[in-house]
Amino acid sequence: MPELLAQRPKMRYIFTGGKGGVGKTVAAAGLAYHYAAQGERVLLASLNPVHSLSSLFAQSLSGGKVVQVKGVKGVHAVEVETTEVVERYRNAIRGRVKEFLKWADIPLDAKPFIEIATTNPAFEESAMFDRMVDYILKEGEAFDRVIFDTAAVANAVRLIGLSKIYGLWLTRMIDSRKEALSMRVQLSFRKEKVMEEVKKDPLMADLISMNERFEKAKGVLVDPERTAFFFVTLPLALPIAVVRRFIGMVQKFNIPIGGVIVNGVLRPEIALQEGAGEYLANKYHEQTGYMKVLYRDLGPLVRSYIPLYSSEVGGVDMIARVSEDMMSYTPPFAAELSGGA
């Protein structure tokens, strides 16, 4: 890991993702701590629909605002909220519906319809993406590093990949909005007035600025100098399978891969010492078996290890330890394997 970080000093936007429960948040926090310890300003942003930063740091970081993490100088954190963005979308849509139904005389209340048109969970997700772009382009500017703790990997990849898909969608939106506006002008009798309105169309402005932001964000997200996506996994078959499956997808979106972080690694000196019992030894052998698979498939990408601690990771002290281990710990079998590979 330290080599990688040294190689890419400009790596500014870091994402962690993986199967649920593998310790993405822990890995993200560890990285954040590492950079902060070197005197940098770090923003740790959780993009999870269910945030866990607060519970990890054992302090309230919720509320959707960037706050200083108590006890860790230089680390700011935010549990990203989407309500505001969603509300803004909704208002824009509401305005348009009202426009369409200006003269309508219908036996139905239009409100619930607007409601359902805007309760699509997709709004949450696109709003989350929107916020992420904000943190990359705006709030993130004030920091040396921005580390995103994303949701489960499929979501995370899609979230990042959205810049590509959304680009398509947005271009089409912009086109159809253009068509809409020109039709409005064409079919109006107050051409000047409508033209004036069309020129100032807030929705169009929104779409265009969104597109520009997304374009910019896309540029950042596919830049291997500045961005890296880390997979977090456990040395177990299922999480490894997930990494394998999604690594291709990440590549398809041209997202630069930072590497794989293996969490929950049993230390042989603990697991194999005398008196440890069969239980831990079994576990250890199982882990090494899976590690072999991991190395076979993704060897050079494995960057860092987080050992299994005797207690749950929580609180600043534990994170400090995680951070240290992430930078320095290499289990002996891994050394052998990488030597062999």
Binding site: A92, I106, A180, S188
Partner: protein, 96 residues
Amino acid sequence: MADSKEPAKPKSRGRRVKEGVKGVFYGMAAHGHVTAALRTRMYLEHLFMFITLGDMLGVPVIPPYYSLRILPYAVPNIKSWKQRVFRERDFTDQVF
């Protein structure tokens, strides 16, 4: 009967008178209601289409999965739908 677009066949005078009387009667009694109903229907359709295919109008309504099931039926009407939606209407268009 409102749409007078059948191919013109030579009709007897009696038929013509009968049709004329029927037409006048229909025009007096029902035509206004028919257009009012159609107009209401149109606005309901606006609402419906807006929610299902609103992003065609450049409004970022994210169309849910089942919107696509509606799409095939909407295909031939999309153009006229857009025209209806975007036509600027004035208060003087609303005189009954």
